[in-house]
């Protein structure tokens, strides 16, 4: 059974995922863009895999394409998990 995502738990899992794919920990915050973190589409697929593993939320296609910031993905995960 997957855990339901809270804003806090989603932020924690996504931050850890970003660090895992090589983003600078000090630069990660809600307003940081993926571009500024040098996070590309391949990295986002890995983040999506981590999120799905943790919360059972599937991020696909259009969901992911419109994401620009760390906050965007946290909000989306929380919304889809609700």
């Amino acid at each position: 059974m997957k855990v339901k995502a809270s804003p806090e738990s989603a932020e924690k899992v996504i931050t850890e995922g970003l660090i895992e794919v090589g983003a600078e920990p000090a630069e990660i915050n809600r307003d940081a863009t993926f571009e500024s973190l040098d996070v590309d589409s391949l990295d986002l697929v890995e983040i999506a895999q981590i999120v799905e593993d943790e919360f059972g939320v599937e991020l696909v296609g259009d969901d992911v394409q419109n994401l620009k910031t760390v906050g965007d993905v946290i909000d989306l995960v929380v919304a889809k998990s609700a």
């Binding site: 794919v21 090589g22 983003a23 040098d38 391949l42 697929v45 890995e46 895999q49 799905e52 593993d53």
Partner: protein
């Protein structure tokens, strides 16, 4: 007369350490990079060359290629920027297997967690052209770029292909070489299963007791440039690639032609391409894998191609100290050969003790030996005033019958 191709930089990461000079120094000391039946690059830390992010996006064979390229670029004096338009610089890097470590670990993910858990990085990690792609991207090389796959001949085939690319006039320079890191569960088991690797874990090329090769990992990269372009930018070459010959045995899935016909023809083609006679050769860097079949057929090939001269030239195998680097072997051995010629030394076949009937060449068993032709006089006694450099061939042969021979020179 086709365009001359000079080598302006070399780099190598091997089981004897990081750096081409380290390889030759330690080889001549008789040191070995083989431990526990394998030859790993224990001194290599990818984070010395790559960011954490870059490192996780590159299989170890690609990481090794980048480290070797870094050294070659620095020696060529390209550290401050490319000397030619990026569109006129190519990148050709060979490998035997590519990112098999990544393939195996992702295979495990697939079996344990299912298809959706397979990494989006799996393809760029395991593809055989990853080394060429990564080196091209790192330095912004925008000319022709690809991987070369011909098993244990890949490194030499890559360099030969790069030479032809420069001679064609399409590019001014190419970063070229080979890279391999395949000491993984499946690869080790598979080579053992076919009886190719040494059950005793000892690499002793040309010795009567040899019983297979020892698997190694590493990378070698050379910066090659058209001699005219290098001269215009005032670059001092460290060597020259005089010629290249490549053939196929078309004989057996894995075994070499016992007569050495295909490999002899590759040697003859390389010499003809170089405009060099057997009498002018100072040294042979053998493929010398330590397998019963290769070392016998290679000896036959040398006799067939070089005639009586075969018995007079020092012949040694780098694999005696670093094992078999497979797709990287030809490139690492080209680096070692150029450095050997530059220092006028024939490094030894370390560990050679027992002769076998028919394996009767001079395998340099007793430690490094000064090359005899310093001053440009060939051993056959003919004065060769025009020649100030020393000349060698470096042999590479791969499963599938691929034979690639480079004729190299250094002053």
């Amino acid at each position: 007369m086709s365009e001359r191709v000079v080598v302006t930089g070399t780099g190598a990461v091997t089981p004897l350490g990081v750096g081409g000079a380290t390889l030759l120094d330690r080889w001549c000391e008789g040191a070995t990079g083989i431990e526990g039946g394998v030859a790993a690059c224990r001194d290599f830390d990818p984070l010395d060359f790559l960011s954490r992010k870059e490192a996780r996006r590159a299989d170890r064979f690609t990481q090794l290629a980048i480290a070797a390229a870094e050294e070659a670029i620095a020696e060529a004096g390209w550290g401050e920027g490319l000397p030619y338009p990026p569109e006129r610089i190519g990148c050709v890097i060979g490998t035997g297997i590519g990112g098999i470590g990544s393939l195996e670990s992702q295979g495990q993910v697939l079996r344990e967690k299912g298809a959706k858990a397979v990494s989006p990085l799996a393809v760029p990690l395991m593809m055989g052209n990853a080394g060429a792609a990564a080196v091209a991207m790192r330095y912004g090389l925008k000319g022709e770029s690809f991987g070369v796959v011909s098993a244990c001949a890949a490194g030499a085939n890559a360099i030969g292909t790069a030479v032809r690319l420069v001679r064609s006039g399409q590019v001014d320079a190419v970063l070229t070489g080979g890279s391999e890191s395949a000491m993984t569960g499946i690869a080790m088991a598979a080579f053992a299963s076919m009886g190719a690797t040494s059950p005793t874990g000892i690499s002793r090329p040309f010795d009567a007791r040899r019983d297979g090769f020892v698997m190694g990992e590493g990378a070698g990269v050379l910066v090659i440039e058209s001699a005219a372009a290098a001269e215009r930018r005032g670059a001092r070459g460290v060597g020259e690639i005089l010629g290249y010959g490549a053939t196929c045995d078309a004989h057996h899935l894995t075994a070499p032609d016992p007569d050495g016909e295909g490999s002899a023809r590759a040697i003859e083609l390389a010499l003809a391409d170089a405009g060099v006679t057997a009498g002018q050769l100072d040294y042979v860097n053998a493929h010398g894998t330590s397998t019963p079949l290769n070392d016998r057929s290679e000896t036959e090939a040398l006799k067939r191609a070089l005639g009586t001269r075969a018995g007079e030239i020092p012949v040694s195998s780098t694999k005696s100290v670093i094992g078999h680097l497979m797709g990287a072997a030809g490139a690492v051995e080209a680096v070692a050969t150029i450095k050997s010629l530059g220092r006028a030394v024939a490094p030894p076949t370390v560990g050679w003790e027992q002769a076998e009937e028919g394996l009767d060449l001079d395998y340099v068993p007793d430690g490094p030996r000064p090359l005899a032709t310093i001053g440009g006089v060939a051993l056959d006694g003919a004065p060769d005033a025009a020649r100030s450099s020393r000349i060698a061939i470096s042999n590479s042969f791969g499963f599938g019958g691929h034979n690639a021979v480079l004729c190299l020179a250094a002053t």
